[in-house]
């Protein structure tokens, strides 16, 4: 028994290691593409840093300081060498290490993403199941209406409405939260409204997928057999149908996890919250090449991890899945 478990653990770990190894060339490819794309796009970081009254000499001096006057291939080789040693370089604008810039905002993005995800699944899954169970009933229509609203509402509009309701009218939260005070109570307070904003959108997505997936499963033969055998409805749903219905839900959640990190930008902007998405947009506007490259690689890495976690979760739900 113990030996079987040990074997299982080793096989999962080997699977993870293989997947991570395969990810390395992917990340290098992302790095290369981003590197050349951002430098080919028009826009001069030196001009942006020094402003429009800077002399040509000052601009030339800045370009030299930033290493931008060297041929692109030289810059690439130098950068590649740095990355392979684990150094993502320094931001062109702030001169801070890229990794420390990202590490500064990452906890906030992760907090927001995971909380929104948790809200999405915690509310969306049961709602979807209930909607499927009471198909075409009142509950179903209500749930579908809510889902459509959630999907159509732009994130920044709902964010402003939340602020108007909870910060201005009810005064339960400040408009600008002190996200970096270090005090956990403050952090939670600052997380509440943004997480609700993104979470409600997640609920809409998860609910739809859960509902349609559940409906599909409920129409299967084995469900009909279970019902014919007299198994109570509750057991049919929770014991037999759910596990099968979960697979598409896990897929969507896994896919959306990657997208959520970037999509959270609008929420981050309205709630004035630090985040990876906001940092990327800012770096793009400032043509901060090194910061952009570093963040793209880190972002790609997160997508790899998200996909990996999704696949591992399949293994948990579906015993037929054997990780080779």
């Amino acid at each position: 028994m113990a030996r079987g478990l040990l074997q299982r653990v080793i096989s999962v770990l080997t699977y993870i290691a293989k997947r991570l190894l395969v990810a390395v060339p992917t990340l290098l490819a992302v790095l290369t593409v981003v590197f050349f794309f951002v430098r080919i796009a028009p826009g001069d970081p030196a001009q942006i840093i020094l402003g429009d009254q800077a002399s040509q000499q000052a601009l030339a001096a800045m370009r030299h300081q930033l290493g931008l006057d060297q041929p692109m291939v030289t810059q690439y080789v130098e950068f590649l060498g740095q990355v392979l040693q684990g150094d993502l370089g320094a931001s062109l604008v702030t001169r801070q290490r890229v990794w420390s810039e990202v590490a500064g905002v990452l906890p906030y993005t992760i907090d927001l993403t995971l909380t929104a995800l948790a809200i999405g699944v915690a509310l969306g899954l049961p709602l979807g199941i209930v909607a499927a169970r009471h198909r075409n009933g009142v509950l179903d229509y209500l749930a579908r209406f809510f889902s459509l609203t959630g999907l159509s509402f732009p994130a920044f509009v709902s964010a402003i409405l939340l602020l108007l309701a909870f910060a201005i009218q009810l005064r339960w939260f400040p408009v600008i939260s002190e996200t970096r005070s270090g005090d956990p109570a403050d952090q939670l307070r600052a997380l509440a409204l943004p997480a609700v904003n993104l979470g409600l959108i997640m609920v809409a997505y998860v609910m739809r997928v859960a509902r349609s997936s559940m409906l599909g499963v409920l129409g299967e033969d084995y469900i009909r057999t279970a019902r014919a055998k007299g198994v109570p409805a509750r057991v049919v749903i929770w014991r037999h149908a759910l596990r099968n219905a979960l697979i598409p839900v896990v897929t969507v959640v896994g896919l959306y996890l990657g997208v959520l990190i970037g999509n959270s930008v609008l929420t981050e902007i309205v709630f004035n919250r630090p985040g990876l998405g906001k940092l990327i947009i800012n770096a793009l506007n400032q043509r901060d090449y090194t910061l952009l490259e570093g963040m793209m690689v880190i972002y790609a890495f997160f997508i790899v991890i998200a996909n990996l976690l999704t696949d591992l979760t399949y293994g948990l739900i579906d015993p037929r899945v054997k990780h080779p």
Partner: protein, 517 residues
């Protein structure tokens, strides 16, 4: 014995109660700015509006504009209490105040600091504004409280260059040397407020300099909050989390804020002038008649009406109005669409022409050009706008890729600066000495150069007038309107002076500013 005990107890309780009287609460001014983050507090590198505003509260210059004004005629002493010049006006000697303290514990300011700062500002490796001091021969410190500047090519307004603005801001030498790269975010000067704390993407905190040579500020702390979302900033003002807010250069915003209770809307200079620059070397714009047609087709009044008369005003010349040397009655072409059509016909374009322009997607600049486009269409000119993002726009126009360039700017309020940067042949884009001359105009070079060296101020102004009139007549650019700065504050904040203009683009907060609790 019993009485003694009661008396003692009473005295102790009474004493404790008196001692527990509330300590003076700190006066904190919360400000909301439209920015994602700080780029630089180092005054020789600060190039964005949000950064320039704070820099104005942290540094002094040898001289300064009167608070609330941008008039070069009323420049007054700042770090220097008096100055004298040689008879040829090429050597200026400034006598510094004694006992001015650098913030954050860096000791007394001496001529050593001033000369270090000026040299740093003149060095293209450490300053974005090095070209300001291109005409300087040497900076010297003959003694601890004297600074001597020798010019080989004296600028037309020496004092203007030495105000607490851009390269004129004086930094403390020991702080620069000690902090190195950190000086970018922890800059040290002698101003009424000093750097205290910086939280990336969130805020910068400044504390009052109690030893400020003009007197201790009445505000103890400034919290400058970075709030890029306009809606969020407005909500933060509504909820009382900020008391001074950077607005939008927008009539609707100003009108809405005017209706807010206990709120004062600040509309002040500089007016950033929007010019539509025309490249006179490329057909069809190489024909004066075509350029004149464009000038006649543009309706400035309509543009100002669209922008809002509260926050915008019509241009009076090819440089902003109220600068030293502006021709307030420049011969701008009036709105006359019929004449425009006639001129196009005369130039051989009876069927109309098409011109391409690279345009930024920044909404305030884009919507202006869309109106100009509509106005030009009425006379048969098809202005095709290629809309790109803002950094791309700035890069491409400097590569001379656009025949028509709509640019919006304010500069040091001396005609020479604007004329040189936008209309002198030395500044033509794509050349080694390029600045922002998109029109490739050179017909006023002689007048601009002569005015720069002219010591008689009447003759100088006449030369500047001649330069502007020539450039206007040749339609190197079509001036549109000037957009003023728009902020708002709660009426419990009093700046302490009348705010007509502020070169830093933000209100000056100094020792005179008060905030009622």
């Amino acid at each position: 014995m019993k009485h003694g005990f009661i008396l003692t107890a009473g005295a102790i309780i009474g004493g404790a109660w008196l001692a527990a009287a509330p300590a003076q609460a700190e006066t904190v001014l919360n400000i909301g700015m439209q920015a994602q983050d700080m780029q630089a507090l180092d005054p020789h590198k600060a190039s964005t509006t949000p950064d320039k505003a704070i820099v104005g509260w942290m540094f002094n210059g040898l001289v300064r504009f009167k608070p609330g004004s941008m008039n070069p005629d009323t420049i007054e002493p700042d770090l220097a209490e008096r100055w004298d010049t040689s008879s040829d006006l090429n050597t200026w000697t400034f006598h510094l105040r004694h006992g001015v303290q650098c913030n954050n514990g860096y000791g007394e300011l001496t001529s050593d600091d001033v000369v270090f700062s000026l040299k740093r500002a003149a060095d293209s490796k450490t300053s974005a504004y090095s070209s300001d001091f291109a005409g300087v021969d040497s900076f010297e410190a003959p003694d601890a409280y004297t600074v001597r500047i020798k010019f080989k090519q004296r600028p037309p307004n020496v004092l203007g260059l030495l105000t607490a603005y851009q390269s004129g801001n004086i930094v403390c030498k020991k702080a620069v040397e000690k902090l190195g790269d950190d000086f970018r975010t922890k800059a040290v000067g002698t101003g009424p407020f000093a750097y205290a704390e910086y939280t990336p993407n969130q805020s910068v905190v400044l504390t009052a300099n109690k030893n400020y040579f003009r007197g201790a500020p009445k505000i103890d702390k400034i919290v400058y909050k970075y709030i890029p979302s306009d809606a969020t900033r407005d909500l933060a003002y509504q909820s009382g989390e900020i008391d001074l807010i950077y607005g939008r250069q927008d009539q609707t915003w100003a009108e809405r804020m005017q209706k807010e209770p206990h709120t004062v809307v600040d509309v002040f200079g500089p007016g950033e002038l929007s010019d539509v620059n025309l490249n006179i070397t490329k057909p069809p714009l190489d024909d004066l008649r075509v350029r004149q047609a464009i000038a006649y087709a543009v309706n400035r009044k309509e543009l100002v009406k669209f922008k809002g008369e509260l926050t915008a005003r019509e241009a009076v010349s090819i440089i902003p109005h109220d600068y030293l040397g502006t021709d307030e009655n420049a011969p701008l072409y009036p709105y006359d669409p019929e004449k425009a059509k006639q001129l196009l016909k005369d130039a051989g374009h009876a069927d109309g022409i098409a011109i391409k322009a690279i345009q930024t997607q920044l909404s305030t600049m884009l919507n202006t050009m869309q109106i100009v486009q509509a106005q030009l269409k009425k006379v048969g000119i098809d202005l095709q706008l290629e809309v790109v993002d803002h950094p791309t726009f700035h890069a491409q126009i400097r590569k001379d890729l656009s025949q028509v360039v709509m640019y919006s700017a304010a500069r040091l309020p001396v005609a020479d600066v604007y004329l040189t940067q936008f209309f002198h042949s030395r500044s033509i884009v794509g050349t080694p000495t390029a600045v922002t001359n998109f029109s490739h105009c050179d017909m006023a070079d002689k007048e601009i150069d002569a005015a720069r060296g002219e010591t008689d101020s009447v003759k100088q102004k006449a030369l500047w007038k001649e330069a502007q009139d020539k450039l206007v007549q040749q339609v190197c650019a079509v001036p549109l309107y000037e957009q003023l700065q728009v902020w708002a504050h709660r009426d419990k904040l009093n700046f302490g002076y009348k705010l007509d203009a502020s070169l830093t683009l933000g209100p000056l907060i100094n020792e005179l500013t008060t905030l009622q609790q």
